[in-house]
């Protein structure tokens, strides 16, 4: 347990890094392609598959273009952070490890009311599902806890346990702040000066919201989506040292997925079309997952 409670958004992240690092996780940096959730990082989607053990933790900036509110809603952002932990195979004491991380960031487990409430997670765009819970702290959902059963339509064996912490929401709770933009980004007593979450991100929310809702050219988005869709199988057909180029192909799937989210935010996708777009992305993801597992099993 760390000597001190974190005092800022960034020290909360550092505390989680320390905690999971001490458990034996590799601490990764965010994936450098736009994603809608930390799960989509190849360190989760691809590494969950195949027989090899894998323990990793990372922060992933996540983009949900439709959630933009021009910086005017205290709880909603189109760009936010998820803290993601993936443990494969999940250790038997994973729940206790998770609770230990809450304690590390300053939650007293006998004063707060922590609950594991049924939530069967699924992400149809990557053909993934698992069983687990939403974790509630005093009635607020602070994490998603999932035992992956399938990814890319393939069985996950051994099972990977996934933890996703909504960092802003968790931080708002830990620091007793009602508006996300008021969160202390760094230590309020830091000698070089203090910045809030708003100082760092408010302008970004404003500009990106406008772009998401009005800026992007729908025709261009559509064209780019289709290009990505075409490129995925071509990339998978290429190989280096006898192995198909799964990792670059998967990046293209992520780009397609983000383009879809942008089109959706622009209101360019009719309700009836939605399911078919999601199906197209899922098919691409399945192709990558299939190849990845073949490679993992051969290696």
């Amino acid at each position: 347990m760390p000597a001190e409670k974190p005092k800022s958004f960034q020290s909360l992240i550092l505390t989680l890094h320390d905690y999971w690092s001490a458990q034996g996780c590799v601490i990764l940096q965010p994936h450098d392609v736009e994603v809608g959730a930390g799960t989509l990082h190849p360190a989760t989607v691809l590494r969950a598959l195949g027989p090899k053990p894998w323990n990793a933790a990372y922060v992933q900036p996540s983009r949900r273009p439709g959630d933009g509110r021009y910086g005017e809603n205290p709880n909603r952002l189109q760009h936010y952070y998820q803290y993601q932990v993936i443990l494969k195979p999940n250790p038997p004491n994973m729940q206790d490890l998770y609770l230990g991380s809450l304690e590390a960031i300053g939650l007293d487990l006998r004063t707060h009311d922590i609950r594991f409430v049924e939530d069967d997670w699924e992400n149809p765009t990557v053909g993934a599902w698992g069983l687990g819970w939403e974790v509630w702290c005093d009635g607020m959902e602070v994490s998603q806890y999932t035992y992956f059963q399938q990814v890319g339509g393939l069985d996950v064996s051994p099972v990977a346990g996934e933890l996703t912490y909504g960092l802003e929401r968790l931080a708002m709770y830990v620091f007793g702040v009602d508006n996300v933009y008021d969160l202390p980004f760094n230590d309020p007593d830091a000698p070089l000066g203090h910045l809030t979450y708003g100082d760092v991100f408010l302008e970004n929310e404003r500009q990106q919201s406008e772009a998401n809702f009005h800026g992007y050219d729908v025709a261009v988005l559509k064209q780019q989506f289709e290009q990505m869709e075409e490129q995925v199988p071509l990339m998978l057909d290429r190989s280096y040292q006898g192995r198909s180029l799964v990792l670059p192909a998967y990046d293209m799937v992520l780009k397609a997925s983000h383009l879809f989210n942008l089109m959706n935010a622009r209101g360019a996708i009719a309700v009836a079309e939605r399911a078919s777009y999601i199906g197209r992305i899922r098919d691409l993801c399945k192709m990558c997952a299939q190849k990845w597992v073949e490679q993992q099993e051969a290696a």
């Binding site: 195979p89 038997p92 004063t111 609950r115 819970w133 051994p158 309700v271």
Partner: protein, 671 residues
């Protein structure tokens, strides 16, 4: 006699699956024990957030010894058959005894020790437990609802030793996930060798085993909190059931809500509390309205008396209600017209078009139905046109269960006609067997139109319910139509609206409804066979028929009907066609004359009673036929050698069948 105690301890079991799991465990254990020849004195199961428990009282230490008689091959059968039999029976040939040319083996079967049987039973149950959804974890292959952590299994105070996929059975259970005596947090293991020790151990470690006790604890706690503040708990049995499955040490905590939110509709506040937060609402007994507080059921009794928990939950609720307020404010800025336009872009079903097209159909239906239920057709059409608009509102987008209700609120906010607002609000009703049926004519018209459109549509594209599958809730819709019609005595010819298969579906649902009221389903068949499609009349007939068949006259007349129709069927098969009226021959016997007279006498009053839809009177008329029919069947030889006599007598019986057939198809009735 010895006791068996089993606990399957796992990570958190979904609340909604717990009671089913307790029932399944009980059933499976009973079956296994019975198969092993055990008849326990008592068997009980418990389910909670992290454990399934079985306790069985009065099991013997071992099975009784048994003698088994095994029948072997015939004397002189090929040697392979003999070898196979000897292997299977576990005996040598000199132990066999010949009986009637067959070799018999008499085998003493030692009864097995109970722990052995228990070990097998637990493994079989665990490996094939019927969870609605199960999973694997780690590197193992075992499936359970969430990872299974411990198995406690003791019989007669001794551990029953076995292992399932690396989980070794033992005498150790574990307490509350967080609470413990002393400092720190985390489940503490404790030992238990029988149920008393187990229950005490759980209580000492902050776990209430029995769901009924957890519910009591919750209600007691809520009442105490309410009493102290002069509040009243808003009962919610479904929620109680759920929260009792979410906490091992359920501890009600009262929190505050900003009173400014009380200007939102009560249903919105309650739905927000219930669906998102699983809170109980509280009322002010003086006004009967919601009070600005809530009760959450925590899993821990915290040192600060729940202060932090109450504050945290209050904050979450406040942000939820701010969302709801935002939705309300946005919605009243938009209004019905843009919502209706939005419905044009919402697919109802790929084969049934958009929501807007569905609305058009409901409008037409409501206009047709209105005159039949005493509603103004134009108003009914207007209400139907607006009824689905709230589906496009933000509030219903967030809380789908408020559909209709919000439409009603918004209609009133926009100062629309009160009857129309009520019809919008109530047109989904009844939504379940315990939900009330709309009674205002306008609401009845739109509610019927809504359900009939659903039924007609899905039947037309062949999406009928099969077995347990009813994805579009058509059974509920049909039951809704039936209840609205019967409870409001609506005279509606159903065949005007649906095809034959839909009418048959209604018949089926009506049977279920009437069966629940204790009516025989064959009576419904007998009445439906007449081809009537007016549910009110059908039920009146079934009720009269039911009453009639309980009388002596009814039972005997039915028997007579069956005899008569059997005779007729046999003769019709042989080619007899009874054309024209039955003519009484000059030499007719007394019973023939009597039955003729009775039939003639009954004709007019029977027709009048049917015309007046007084089916009890119709039955009374039929009762008059009982004596003459019996006398005829007992005293007259129908298949006379004289063709004229035979023809006349058969025609007489046919006249009986026809007369009775006006009331019901008695051939469908069992008995």
């Amino acid at each position: 006699m010895p006791q068996l105690l089993l606990e399957l301890f796992s990570e958190e079991i979904p609340a909604r699956m717990q009671s089913g799991a307790a029932r399944d465990l009980e059933r499976l254990a009973r079956e296994h024990l019975a198969a092993a020849g055990f008849l326990p004195e008592a068997l009980k199961t418990f389910a909670g957030p992290r454990r399934l428990t079985l306790v069985v009282e009065g099991l013997p230490a071992a099975q009784a010894d048994r003698k088994e008689e095994l029948k072997g091959p015939r004397v002189g059968a090929p040697p392979q058959a003999m070898e196979g039999f000897l292997r299977k029976a576990g005996v040598t040939q000199d132990q066999l005894v010949e009986q009637n040319g067959v070799w018999m083996a008499f085998v003493e079967k030692k009864g097995r020790a109970t722990p052995e049987i228990v070990a097998e039973m637990v493994e079989t149950i665990v490996r094939a437990f019927p969870w609605p959804k199960s999973m694997t974890w780690g590197s193992g292959k075992l499936r359970w609802v969430r990872p299974l952590k411990r198995i406690l299994c003791v019989f007669d105070r001794e551990i029953v030793p076995f292992a399932i996929e690396g989980i070794q059975s033992g005498d150790v259970s574990e307490g509350h996930r967080f609470m413990r005596v002393g400092r720190g947090w985390g489940g503490q293991p404790f030992k238990a060798r029988d149920f008393d020790e187990y229950q005490k151990g759980l209580l000492d470690h902050f776990v209430v085993l029995d769901v009924e006790e957890r519910k009591e604890r919750i209600l007691e706690g809520c009442k105490t909190l309410c009493f102290a503040r002069n509040l009243e708990l808003v009962d919610d049995i479904g929620l109680l059931e759920e929260v009792a499955g979410l906490a091992e040490w359920p501890t009600p905590v009262l929190g505050d809500m900003d009173p400014a939110f009380l200007d939102l509709p009560g249903e919105v506040i309650r739905t927000s509390m219930r669906t998102h937060q699983k809170y109980f609402a509280v009322r002010d007994p003086a006004t009967g309205g919601l009070a600005p507080h809530f009760i959450t059921i925590a899993n821990v009794q915290s040192a600060d008396g729940g202060k932090v928990i109450a504050e945290g939950n209050a904050k979450v609720l406040s942000s939820r209600l701010s969302d709801a307020r935002f939705f309300w404010d946005e919605d009243v800025k938009v209004g019905f017209k843009p919502w209706l336009e939005k419905l044009e872009g919402v697919t109802f079903h790929a084969k049934l078009g958009t929501m807007a097209q569905r609305v058009e159909r409901i409008v037409a239906l409501a206009g047709e139905i209105a005159p039949l239920v005493g509603a103004d057709p134009e108003k009914a059409k207007e209400a139907a046109r607006l009824a689905k608009a709230d589906l496009a509102s933000q509030m219903v987008g967030e809380f789908p269960e408020l559909q209709g209700l919000m439409g009603g609120y918004y209609a009133r906010t926009f100062k629309m006609d009160g009857e129309i607002a009520d019809a919008i609000r109530d047109h989904y009703k009844p939504q379940g067997p315990s939900d009330a049926v709309p009674t205002a004519p306008l609401s009845v018209a739109v509610a019927l139109a809504d359900k009939l459109d659903t039924l007609v549509g899905f039947f037309a594209i062949d999406e009928k319910p099969t077995g347990s599958k009813d994805p579009f809730a058509l059974r509920r819709a049909a039951l809704g139509v039936i209840r609205i019609i019967l409870e409001n005595a609506v005279r509606l010819p159903l065949s005007k609206f649906g095809r034959e298969d839909l009418i048959a579906f209604f018949a089926d649902r009506l049977k279920v409804t009437l069966k629940d009221q204790g009516k025989r389903h064959d009576l419904v068949d007998a009445v439906f066979a007449l081809g009537d499609d007016d549910l009110v009349r059908i039920v009146a007939r079934v009720e009269a028929l039911d009453g009639f068949l309980k009388t002596d006259d009814g039972k005997n007349l039915l028997a007579g009907y069956k005899r008569a129709s059997n005779i007729l069927k046999a003769e019709e098969k042989k080619g007899w066609k009874g054309e024209g009226e039955a003519e009484l021959l000059p030499n007719a016997s007394e019973p023939e004359v009597a039955l003729h007279d009775a039939l003639r006498l009954v004709r007019q009053p029977l027709a009048a009673a049917l015309e007046a839809e007084d089916f009890t009177a119709a039955m009374r008329e039929l009762a008059g036929l009982r004596g003459p029919v019996d006398a005829f069947l007992d005293g007259v030889f129908v298949n006379s050698d004289v063709p004229e006599e035979r023809d006349s007598r058969l025609k007489t019986l046919a006249a009986v069948r026809d007369a009775m057939g006006q009331v019901a198809d008695f051939s469908q009735i069992a008995g």
